[in-house]
Symmetry: C2
Subunit: 392 residues, 2 copies
């Protein structure tokens, strides 16, 4: 006799995407040690934390070094100063979210994964290609996942299914990996579907700060969303917090299922299995969300946005079909001449020494597409765009 | 139609323990604004982070402020420098744990809660009185929890059940809330039971640094434990990290169930639903685990240990039965004259203005007992011990 393990783990596919990429790149480098490889595959930021953030963190470290100002356990949902800073940030962008509907955490990945705890055995709808966390965190707890295809025809922005049923729906806009951004009308269709069917939308807005064309940055810009949507946001790509860890989940007070408030379930989940984020990080996060912090972060975001524009412009000139690149740090391009994702990967590496990410790595619906990212250095991005152009 | 929520949440009892305490204390204070109340109920540290920790954190903040040294996403299981620092810390205490069996995380509470993800529908054995996380995190995912009673007769150190069956077993030594510490023989009995029955022990060693009498600080001091036990440890009470957040889980490579390595399941769980802890925190944690850091932390621990000794000595003089107080920051005393937990709480508050925690708040088995903690100021602890003595 033995205890039982969670058998659902065997349902998750092992992803070898990034290790496969590393293997091919290493093999190429060994064969051609003289060639300079440029990486546009990386999904991580490269610019440092901004000045007001690091000043706030230094100050907080000093407070933690002094008995009179030392702070122990933080509130599980974040200090009021942070929840209020987030609320003010939303208010500056025209969205009213009370501080007590905001739950600070250590990032969108944790919150998205852990939110599965509050739901029962629902059907889960996930657009594909997809950020793997949505699928894997549900498979891990035995939920049935239904993929809805994003493709060239729908501009990688799928519309709600025809069949009306209560679902847990994951949406991400601007999308990772496709960079596609829902319009107000596009999101409203999903909100209407959710309200009509008793579905709940988990809206991942981790890239909202890259939007500048008036498309919704928060799902709560859509009438009715407070009755059907949870929003998950992050400082990772907005303030360079990938290695500093802070994000938040918003659950409106009126969001309930059969009289049970989802916010209360999340509070209980977090109070049971989480102990809040570091004081030092909370002070840095607060600073990044202040008006000054937002100006400083704007410099980082604009740098990445300009990188994206450089790549997008090169593709446009060659008439290549793509999504993203404008309100997103990702460019999702169609591989030329009907090539497969990996075929194009090998071509780029062999011929011009540029590394991207094969679309197939984000699900079958990504076959024939390729992801480029805007988080690199300006000089290298310019050079890579020229190199890619030379092949198109 | 509506989606379904996780119905298991309704099985968890709402705990009003600390809010009930706060209400009674506030009511007393309003009625007696002139009396000084001393709190020995708090389970949180009060001394600041040590010098080498805050120096390391300042340095890390500076690195994060500079493009050349900036770090983005950390490895999900912690940087090698941290895993190796933890491994060295264990080695200095005579326990060999390779760095790649150590998974750094944001604290014991998160890891203990999230470890439920890797197990199936087992019976779960939890000693009572108990840290509520063990019970609630299992109820939340629908597991059957069996309580095993800790009591005066077994010194609040229960032995394995007579019935032999595969269980997931939670043990905590030094124990929260009772302060009781398992001897080598006591722990060996549990390891033998687990090996014989195919059970897995989750060993919470968050208070191990308070042990100085040679009792095991790690379950891996017990022969055979690598084949049946996961250990969860934390810097919270060792290095004052309750507001800085760092702990770790150890899963030996040979720990497997039907050919599946539990370490691999935990790796997959963390890679799917967690993105590592902040770089700044990892550098602080590394520093706290260095030989210099350990010396500095020893000063904090000795301060709290001396507080515990002051309370314990007062109780001993009055012939009061208690556990803890020697190798633990907690003192778990029997209420005098057969009083109930809350009755004694009210007596202490009314008569001598000392606040503790009624044992009943940690489960029915705690009725008739009372928890005092050693994390307060020295002067107030001395004064509180004298006040309590005057009532005994």
């Amino acid at each position: 006799m033995k205890i039982k393990i969670n058998e659902n783990f065997s349902k998750m596919k092992e992803s070898y995407l990034f290790s496969d990429i590393a293997k091919r790149v290493n093999a190429y480098r060994e064969a051609h040690p003289d060639r300079e490889i440029i990486r546009l595959g990386i999904g991580d930021v490269t610019l440092p934390l901004t000045r007001c953030v690091t000043e706030a963190m230094h100050k907080a470290v000093d407070e933690q070094a002094n008995k009179a100002t030392f702070r122990g356990y933080a509130p599980e949902y974040g200090y009021d100063f942070l929840r209020e800073a987030i609320s003010s940030y939303y208010a500056r962008h025209g969205v009213s979210v009370p501080a007590d509907e905001i739950y600070a955490g250590d990032g969108a990945k944790s919150d998205l994964g852990n939110l599965t705890d509050i739901f029962g055995a629902n059907r889960v709808l996930v657009p594909s290609p997809v950020y793997p966390v949505y699928v894997d965190s549900n498979l891990m707890c035995g939920r049935g996942v239904v993929l809805i295809e994003a493709n060239e025809k729908n501009g990688f922005l799928p519309t709600p299914p025809e069949k009306e049923e209560p679902l847990v729906i994951y949406l991400c806009s601007p999308n990772n990996p496709t960079g596609a951004v829902y319009s107000r009308e596009g999101l409203a269709r999903w909100v209407d579907y959710a309200l009509k069917t008793g579905s709940v939308i988990l809206f991942d807005s981790a890239y909202e700060s890259y939007i500048s064309d008036g498309s919704p940055r928060s799902i709560y810009e859509i009438p009715g969303a407070r009755g059907c949507a949870i929003e998950i946001n992050s400082l990772s790509k907005r303030a360079g917090f990938t290695g500093t860890r802070c994000g938040w989940t918003i659950i409106p007070k009126e969001l309930e299922v059969e009289g049970v408030k989802l916010g209360k379930l999340w509070e209980r989940r977090q109070a049971t299995k989480f102990n809040g984020i570091p004081y030092v990080v909370q002070r840095g996060a607060e600073a990044s969300l202040s008006p000054v912090g937002e100006e400083e972060c704007r410099v980082l975001i604009d740098y990445y946005r300009e990188n994206a524009a450089i790549i997008a412009s090169a593709l446009e000139k060659k008439g290549v079909w793509f999504t993203g690149g404008k309100n997103s740090p990702y460019i999702w391009m169609k591989c030329p001449n009907g090539m497969g994702s990996w075929e194009f990967f090998d071509l780029l590496l062999d011929r011009v020494q540029v590394v991207g990410t094969p679309g197939e790595g984000f699900g079958k619906a990504g076959e024939g597409f390729f992801r480029l990212t805007a988080f690199g250095d300006r000089d290298k991005t310019v050079e890579a765009a020229a190199r890619i152009s030379s092949l198109l």
